[in-house]
Symmetry: C2
Subunit: 153 residues, 2 copies
DNA sequence: ATTGCTGCAAAGCCTTTGCAGGCGG
DNA sequence: CCGCCTGCAAAGGCTTTGCAGCAAT
């Protein structure tokens, strides 16, 4: 019999857990605990944040939910059929997703070279999203204008 | 004049900052703030943890230090000449390092395909280190023995 | 009837911030 | 001397935990 992290040997299906699972299914992107909590309260006004955290913990242990940490926040989402990776925008903090098929090669290579049994490979990119690149261009233009004015003086 | 995040326009070189930089240089792997704090106290018994955090923040902004987050903890290290990536062991939680040269290709591909200006690419692997694989084998063997005994009964 | 789940409140953990004094340039 | 840095203490933000009552099996 498999023993879970908190010492329990079994899991029970409750309305709250089902609803949290639905919220995860309906979302098209990762959400943090508080986001899920606020949505859940719409149907279960008395649900507590701890229940959300505990449920996510259980779902994670069962492999039904993936947890990602960006900055100091943790986000949750259902495992994707074809796995995606994340790009974090340095400018606005938004997290974007992209696909990458070449990670399988990497996994097998590292397994061989390092004696590590690789379960999961995750690529994280940091950079500037199209919007923030545009903003940067504008502010660079501003500086240029200023410089020209000074030269004209 | 470049304005820093905390509103200051300049940085000063103090004994504490120099020493924190030395601690980072002497380490051969990433350390968290508390680890650096404990080492720093050996020479500066009255240094405070906030100073460590504030210094790391400054060094990070100056690009002299890299920050990585694993689980709920943040780790700091000097930028490597040839960048390495991280493998987190699911069994023991230790973080290992490995090199990977193929990320440059990935960066340029994503830049083109997604319109994202990629500054940094990080690969994170999760799996089991050699030690934990050994432990797993042992515990599987144990179960097998148990099963055999039951069959013999 | 058990065993596990829930809400609530409180505690924990890491990180940040406010402030008054003090040092660096 | 001005501006930046430091230690201390306190606050912050997110997550976990203790507990008593309740619900699922």
């Amino acid at each position: 019999m498999k023993e879970t992290k908190d010492g329990y040997t079994n899991h029970r299906s409750t309305e709250q857990r089902q609803h949290i699972m639905e919220i995860l299914q309906q979302a098209d992107r990762h959400q943090d605990a508080d986001e899920i909590y606020r949505k859940a309260r719409w149907n279960f006004p008395r649900i507590s944040l701890s229940t959300v955290y505990r449920t996510l913990q259980v779902l994670k242990e069962m492999g039904l939910v993936e947890e990602h940490q960006f900055g100091s926040r943790r986000y949750y989402e259902l495992p994707d059929v074809d796995k995606h990776h994340h790009m974090v925008c340095i400018g606005c903090g938004r997290v974007f997703e992209f696909k990458c098929s070449s990670t399988d090669k990497l996994k097998s290579r590292i397994s061989k070279e390092e004696g590590f049994k690789v379960i999961d490979a995750e690529v994280r990119l940091a950079g500037y999203c199209p919007d923030c690149q545009k903003r940067m261009t504008i502010s660079i233009d501003k500086n240029r204008v200023t410089t020209i004015k000074q030269e004209v003086k």
